[in-house]
């Protein structure tokens, strides 16, 4: 894993031409595929562990590793980056070198976020990544790019700075317990065996400090306003990465930090967060429907779909949680593809307004076919990837909270409405604007991008067990940590074997801890 980031760092110095970037990112992807081979299905804990001292006087380590959750997110990152590089092949004309360097730095930051197992290191990657994204939007974006870039970075920083305070607080708690550390696995185990005691009050505050940062990133409903701006004004590659990977960092953070570190607070807050998620699903879908700008519409679909993911995380059910992780990947690929198509249309017409588009299927049938395909994948057509994720989330939710599932399911219907309508307005009907009549169809380069994405979409739609099996061990371990109520009985069998019950010892410890917390 270290070679990973190192390669990127050195790569950053020599980015002279696009080819090199492409080469680097493809090598990156292939290297990350090796992770898949070496990944041990049965282990719930972190693999490919790397650990060096970084700042010993503050007990900060360079600690990286992956587990069933982060493994695929790393793959998603390395998969989308070459696509983003390819799609910017022709559309970036100025500061080419800087653009691709930024992309690679961004990739390094993202991979770092997903692999970091040291809270400090995680925070460093989390923040460092803002800078390339900020420049990507601000320099190579269009329209109100400066506004969008500033809004993006300020929103994110506001959330994350409180997380920093939370991280420091945890560090002090571990210090008081006699073992000062920023190491995530250590802190989690200290929390679980009672070495660190949190009053429910401070646990709630800490939980809020973390969840705020992640909720802004996701974005969860009232905090989503930065997203449409950032998406709309970003260059295509920026949108692809933003939607494909950056948003996942929020949900990943919830899974990785909020749940295991603050199980009680997570349970308490779950109804509120789930409600917000459902509001987000429906609200964003409704807003998406009335958009007049294609890219803005796609941006709102992200808010809606990420609502599903958040919902899936906070029902504490293995099916829903795996569905949520799966949906993170799906959304990355399908929304990424949607943005790619948008970008290709933009390259030709330099607009996203529906009024300027229309009837594009006639001049460019191939491109529009792929557009339809991406829409279908995003609206969860069976046999395509989106279906599996959404279905798992809904089933898992239904088991515990039927009402939540019913409300959320309306979002799935709405998504069909707005996406197909968008397709209709863009590709079908008559050609209304004269300029649209003689647009060139997809070039071989664009076909390559789209075909690659489509293959992955179909593959993920039919071969989902290949993915979910690798998540099983981790999700179950995570849920065991989170949930004291081991009500896993009603499980859907095709997803995974039944999880192990917690041992007597663990249960006893948890009970003791709960009792202590119950006493004010």
């Amino acid at each position: 894993m270290g070679a990973f980031t190192l390669l990127l760092l050195s790569g950053d110095d020599h980015v002279w031409i696009r080819r090199f970037t492409l080469f680097a990112s493809v090598v990156e992807f292939i290297m990350s595929l090796f992770l898949l081979r070496g990944f041990d299905l049965a282990t719930p804990s972190y693999q490919f562990d790397e650990r060096y001292n970084w700042i010993p006087s503050l007990h900060i380590h360079y600690h990286m590793g992956v587990d069933g959750i982060s493994l695929f997110l790393v793959l998603l990152t390395t998969f989308l980056t070459p696509l983003a590089v390819l799609c910017s092949w022709k559309s970036i004309h100025e500061h080419v070198k800087e653009f691709f360097a930024m992309l690679l730095v961004l990739e390094m930051g993202m991979v770092g976020v997903f692999c970091a197992l040291d809270l400090f290191l995680f925070f460093v990657f989390w923040e460092v990544m803002l800078i390339p994204m900020y420049f990507l939007i601000g320099i190579w974006g269009h329209g109100r790019k400066v506004y969008a870039a500033l809004k993006f970075i300020l929103y994110t920083m506001l959330g994350s700075i409180l997380m920093l305070v939370g991280i420091l607080w945890l560090f002090h708690l571990s210090g008081e317990a006699g073992n000062p550390t920023f190491d995530l696995p250590t802190i989690v185990s200290m929390l679980h065996n009672g070495q660190i005691m949190l009053s429910w009050h401070s646990e709630l505050l800490l939980f809020l400090a973390f969840i705020l940062a992640f909720a802004i990133k996701v974005p969860v409903f009232p905090l989503h306003t930065w997203l449409p701006d950032a998406h709309t004004e970003a260059p295509t590659a920026g949108s692809v990465i933003l939607a494909g990977v950056l948003l996942k960092m929020g949900t990943y953070g919830m899974l990785r930090f909020c749940l295991p570190l603050f199980p009680e607070a997570s349970h308490r807050a779950a109804p509120i967060i789930a409600t917000l998620a459902i509001i987000g699903i429906i609200y964003a879908a409704l807003v998406a429907m009335v958009q007049t700008n294609l890219k803005r519409l796609v941006a709102y679909t992200s808010v809606s779909h990420l609502g599903f993911v958040v919902l899936g995380i906070f029902v504490f059910n293995p099916t829903a949680m795996e569905g949520a992780i799966y949906q993170m990947l799906n959304h990355g690929v399908s929304t990424g593809m949607l943005f790619l198509v948008c970008g290709m249309i933009y390259d030709r017409r330099h607009t996203y307004e529906f009024s300027e588009l229309g009837g594009l299927a006639k001049p460019m049938p191939v491109l529009c076919a792929f557009f339809l395909f991406a829409c279908l994948s995003s609206l969860a057509l069976p046999l395509l990837n989106g279906f599996i994720g959404e279905f798992m989330i809904l089933i898992g939710t239904f088991e515990h909270h039927a009402a939540w599932a019913i409300w959320a399911a309306t979002g799935a219907i709405l998504s069909a409405v707005y996406l197909l309508w968008a397709y209709q307005r863009t590709a079908l009907e008559k050609v209304t604007v004269a300029k649209n009549e003689n647009l060139p169809d997809a070039t071989p380069r664009e076909r390559l991008i789209l075909i690659t994405a489509s293959i992955v979409i179909v593959f993920m739609g039919v071969a989902s067990p290949l993915f979910t099996h690798r998540m099983d061990a981790t999700t179950n371990a995570l849920l065991q940590q989170v949930s004291v109520r081991a009500s896993y009985n009603a499980r859907v069998q095709h997803v995974a074997p039944a999880p192990k019950q917690p041992t007597q010892h663990e249960l006893a410890l948890r009970t003791v801890k709960l009792e202590r917390q119950a006493q004010p």
Binding site: W54, I55, P56, S57, L58, H95, F123, V124, F125, E127, V128, L130, I131, Y134, F135, G138, I139, K145, V146, A149, L150, I153, L154, M157, L158, I161, L162, L164, V165, L168, W169, F171, H172, G175
Partner: protein, 480 residues
């Protein structure tokens, strides 16, 4: 009676600085006007020799001159900062002084004298000695601030600085007098013992308050910060760079010594004063900076805000707190020095390009200058992998260690406010089209080297801070 040789070794850096300063004053009249830059090189050599003489001092740690001055890790650390700042600022001044046509020997001599004063402040363990150091550095800087004699603004700021600064030192002196009255000594250790025995009477509290006023002025803590933007704006930019780094570091050093060593037993008295002052300083600095359009003024307000962050660590009143202050001062010196020197360079003759709009398109015109400036700004903002981030992190860490949760939350929110105005400059540099024709002056080699060093230091503090942190912790230990 001649002082023992060992004591001379202990103040070797100050002796060297003063000797070189006087040498420059003596030679200067005989140097033709075209070759005044050689005086600068001489001064630079002086700072290097002073840095080297730190080694001597380090071999003779301990108290000198019957307990008025002390050489320990703490004083060596601060010495290294202030002398390093002086050395880099001298190199960075060459081109500026040429441009402004004020290339004179006394400029360099004054920098050396001021630095010697700061050195005395860093090592003082007695109030009168601290006062001497304070005056020595202040008077030199009063003159330096007004060094652009023909420019009205420079004169104004010099006068302002001088008048208000004199007031502040007068307060400081009053504080010393009252403290002496209350404890019958001006030596830190004796004062502290007296407090332990007799407790804190009203006289002592008043003395402590007046001392805080005097030093608060020098470290630009609110509510004594009013002069800062005007003085910083009017002073020649390299002098502003020195002001923001050197005297501030030295004043914080002596403040640490006074508050921890002399008034350590009265920490319950000054804790809340520092707490309130920290909050005020951060908020005033950041909010006022939001509306600035002049980069020099913006950085002046930012330096107020940073004094606030340092006070957060100060309020921790612990060993880690002291270490955090020291680390912050070092990291802050590197990035601020670099930032102000870039402002000096971009400003050009007569400092005509100081507004944010003047930075428009710098990213495409001068990618290297712009990327250096962006680095410093990101560091001031506190983005990870830069010195500014770790400094802030360390400061917050030390404050949380003492359970000052709310202070840290306020500081954290403040740093987000700060992000807005730093980014405003970055926006101008990279996202705006250049709006004026500007034939760039090529950068001279010394300036380039300074930027290189400060940028490297900023990254070094951010990526491999361990060595410096260990030194800071060792320094903090030596304080007791």
């Amino acid at each position: 009676m001649f002082p023992p040789l060992q004591d001379l070794y202990r103040i070797a850096p100050e002796l060297v600085l003063c000797a070189f300063g006087m040498l420059i004053m003596l030679i200067d009249p005989f140097v033709p006007a075209a070759r005044k830059r050689s005086m600068g090189w001489l001064a630079f050599v002086g700072t290097l020799v002073a840095l080297a003489s730190l080694h001597w001092a380090a071999m003779n740690t301990g108290s000198a001159y019957s307990g008025v001055f002390r050489v320990d890790m703490f004083s060596l650390f601060v010495h290294a900062i202030v002398i390093g700042v002086a050395a880099l600022a001298i190199l960075g001044s060459f081109q500026y002084l040429d441009n402004e046509n004020i290339q004179r020997g006394e400029y360099y001599a004054l920098i050396l004298f001021a630095t010697a004063g700061m050195g005395i402040l860093a090592g003082a363990t007695e109030l009168i000695t601290a006062f001497v150091g304070l005056e020595m550095s202040s008077i030199s800087t009063y003159i330096l601030v007004g060094f652009r004699r023909t420019v009205l603004k420079s004169n104004e700021s010099s006068l302002k600085y001088f008048l208000l600064g004199s007031f502040a030192t007068a307060f400081f002196l009053y504080g010393i007098a009252l403290t002496y009255g209350a404890t019958r000594s001006t030596r830190f250790d004796v004062v502290n013992q007296a407090i332990a025995v007799h407790g804190t009477g009203p006289l002592l509290i008043l003395g402590l308050g007046l001392i805080f006023v005097g030093l608060g002025f020098k470290v630009v803590a609110a509510p004594f910060q009013i002069y800062t933007p005007d003085v910083y704006e009017g002073a020649p930019t390299p002098v502003t760079a020195i002001l923001a780094c050197g005297p501030k570091a030295a004043a914080f050093a002596v403040m640490l010594r006074i508050f921890y060593s002399a008034f350590g037993n009265a920490s319950h008295v000054w804790f809340w004063a520092i707490w309130v002052s920290a909050v005020l300083t951060m908020c005033i600095g950041n909010f006022a900076a939001l509306v600035q359009t002049n980069v020099k003024r913006l950085l002046a307000y930012s330096s107020i805000a940073h004094a606030g962050y340092i006070l957060v660590a100060f309020a921790a009143a612990s060993e880690i707190g002291v270490a955090a202050v020291l680390f912050y001062l070092a990291a802050y010196a590197a990035m601020t020095l670099g930032a102000f020197l870039i402002v000096a360079h971009v400003g050009g003759t007569n400092e005509q390009r100081l507004n944010i709009e003047d930075y428009a398109g710098l990213g495409t015109r001068h990618p290297w200058i712009a990327s250096c400036f962006a680095l410093f700004l990101f560091s001031l903002l506190g983005l990870p992998a830069t010195g500014g981030f770790l400094a802030k992190f360390y400061a917050f860490h030390s404050a949380l260690d003492q359970r000052l949760v709310w202070l840290v939350v306020i500081a954290a929110l403040n740093s987000v406010i700060g992000a807005y105005y730093y980014l405003k400059v970055v926006v101008a540099m990279y996202f705006h089209e250049p709006n004026k024709e500007w034939a760039p002056t090529p950068m001279h080699a010394p300036m380039f080297i300074v930027l290189l060093i400060t940028a490297a230091a900023t990254i070094y503090f951010g990526v491999l801070p361990n060595r410096i942190m260990e030194l800071a912790i060792a320094s903090a230990r030596s304080l007791h």
